[in-house]
């Protein structure tokens, strides 16, 4: 497959104009992860109220595919329960991206999903903020 196929309009657009970039002052969940081999690294923060994800934001930098992934997953999970969000599979993530992803770029495509899972999985919550 052509690598150029991966760089459809949506990906480039999300790279240049990312959704949900920033931070949440009183976030209830967060996690950070990097792809050490290529210099992608993000922190994703979530605000969860009564089990529902009310807000999600990401900070950091990465390649076009990982950045697009971060925009897409943070947008997707808003309004979902933690349980539903944790149920998002790798295949669904790739479908969100809507592009063919080569084996070499799979880590980039799935990075934000992994961070989301790390953040929302019960054992890894950040210090709770009283609500």
């Amino acid at each position: 497959m052509s690598n150029y196929d991966m760089y459809k309009e949506q990906i480039l657009d999300l790279y240049k104009h990312p959704l949900n970039k920033g931070s949440i002052a009183h976030h209830t969940h967060q996690a950070h992860k990097e792809n050490p081999s290529c210099g992608d690294g993000f922190t994703i923060q979530f605000l969860v109220k009564d089990g529902i994800i009310v807000d999600a934001k990401f900070a950091g930098s990465g390649c076009a595919i990982s950045t697009a992934g971060a925009s897409l997953i943070t947008e997707k999970v808003k309004g979902m329960s933690i349980h539903t969000a944790l149920g998002i599979s790798s295949d669904e993530m790739l479908a969100l991206l809507g592009i063919p992803v080569s084996a070499a770029r799979l880590k980039c495509a799935l990075l934000a999903l992994e961070i989301t899972q790390d953040a929302l999985t019960p054992s890894s919550t950040s210090p709770k903020v009283s609500q």
């Binding site: 480039l12 240049k16 050490p36 081999s37 290529c38």
Partner: protein, 408 residues
């Protein structure tokens, strides 16, 4: 002398490149392609000469041993050393790790500091960090200047009586800069500091003479030198090797073994436990011969000419920023970024045009932090790189810039 025509002709020495006409291989700093002469040396050894070495009393083994030791001699000569000063390892990383296991007793008594530099590869940082933790040492780093060279004033200041060991690279795998290794070793020697030089990026691109440099230890990998993977060299000055304790134990490195203890063999056997990378050594010697026939001075000169040309052409790419030293002080490595395009995307899209480059921090995270970029793209040249390849690189980069700017 290497001209562009001659460089183009070298391509036919490499089966992989011959069979992939469109491939533009610009990742020599990661690893080199292998010439026919290396492949056939290894293949024919396996087919006609192979036996385990050093211990067989039959002709096949004796001949294999002779060839193996002749390879060692050839490699020793390549860097201006003696045979017994050449220890075969599985690569640069392996060599440095092994040295870190044994070197404590060689260090000046009472000193508790290891000095590194900001431009080191992880292979020449992490083993020393672990050494420091094990033995209660501290680590300091010689800084780099704003134009990406090692700060010699800072080196002079930091090479003092508190330093036991100074480990630094001959050539930076990111910035391409050639350090003044002779001067640095002399400054260290004045203070009785043990020197370890990482030559992984140097030996394939310029002549190296370890006696002239005056270092105590010098390490490099075979696979970056047109040789096979799985072999490298740790050179140690004879007087030091004779005092160095072994790092790995087993067969060949012993003299006698009882139920309770063992005595050690002489050098370099003491440092080569187990079965050696026999065929890899044959391959490495063939690689060394291949490069010597071309001439390391000529290779160095060609890479510098090509670098100058490449820098000129790369300057025409909008938003390209260089992260490398001045051309005349470098080998053929150029690291760069493109505004608005992540290095990973650059490499991916260049790959689409059959251009092979590297992206990331190149196993030099501390350096990335110092120069202030997470990720750079890196191209690296060798004797078979041509100006046409540089032109193709530049054309592709311009396409990438256009794609990300929204014009295609």
């Amino acid at each position: 002398m290497i001209t562009n025509e001659r460089a183009a002709a070298f391509r036919s020495d490499f089966p992989l490149l011959t069979h992939n006409e469109r491939l533009v291989y610009l990742d020599h700093a990661a690893s080199s392609q292998k010439p026919k002469i290396v492949l056939s040396a290894m293949d024919s050894f396996y087919r006609s000469s192979y036996a385990n070495v050093h211990r067989g009393l039959y002709k096949l083994s004796e001949d294999a041993t002779t060839q193996f030791e002749f390879s060692r001699q050839k490699i020793a000569h390549f860097i201006g050393a003696r045979s017994e000063e050449i220890i075969f390892t599985s690569g640069t990383t392996d060599g440095i790790n092994k040295l870190a296991l044994s070197i404590l007793s060689l260090l000046p008594y009472g000193r508790r500091k290891i000095l590194l530099t900001e431009l080191e590869h992880h292979a020449n940082i992490v083993p020393w960090q672990q050494f420091a933790k094990r033995h209660g040492f501290t680590i300091d780093f010689v800084r780099i200047t704003n134009d990406f060279q090692l700060d010699m004033e800072d080196a002079k200041r930091k090479l003092d009586d508190s330093v036991a060991l100074f480990a630094f690279s001959h050539v930076s795998n990111v910035l391409g800069t050639i350090q003044d290794v002779t001067k640095l070793c002399r400054m260290a020697k004045d203070k009785f500091i043990v020197t370890v030089v990482d030559g992984a990026q140097a030996v394939a691109h310029m002549p190296v003479d370890v006696y002239a440099i005056g270092c105590d230890f010098y390490v490099f990998s075979g696979h970056k030198l047109c040789g096979p993977t799985g072999i490298g060299v740790l050179y140690g000055r004879k007087q030091l090797l004779e005092k160095l304790p072994p790092f790995f134990y087993g067969g060949h490195m012993i003299q006698t073994v009882s139920k309770t203890d063992a005595t050690w063999a002489g050098i370099p056997a003491r440092f080569e436990a187990g079965t050696a990378p026999i065929v890899e050594a044959i391959g490495l010697a063939a690689a060394v011969g291949y490069l010597q026939t071309i001439g390391l001075d000529d290779i160095h000169s060609w890479e510098q000419q090509l670098s100058l040309y490449a820098r000129e052409q790369l300057m025409t790419v909008k938003g390209l920023r260089f992260y490398c030293g001045p051309a005349h002080k470098c080998i053929g490595i150029i690291s760069f970024t493109l505004d608005g395009v992540h290095a990973h995307d650059i490499a991916s899209l260049l790959g689409n045009d059959s251009i092979c480059v590297r992206a990331g921090h190149h196993c030099a995270m501390p350096l990335s932090t110092v120069i202030g970029v997470n990720s750079t793209a890196r191209v690296s040249f060798h004797h078979e790189t041509t100006t046409q390849m540089v032109d193709q690189l530049v054309d592709s980069l311009k396409k990438i810039v256009a794609l990300f700017a929204g014009r295609q």
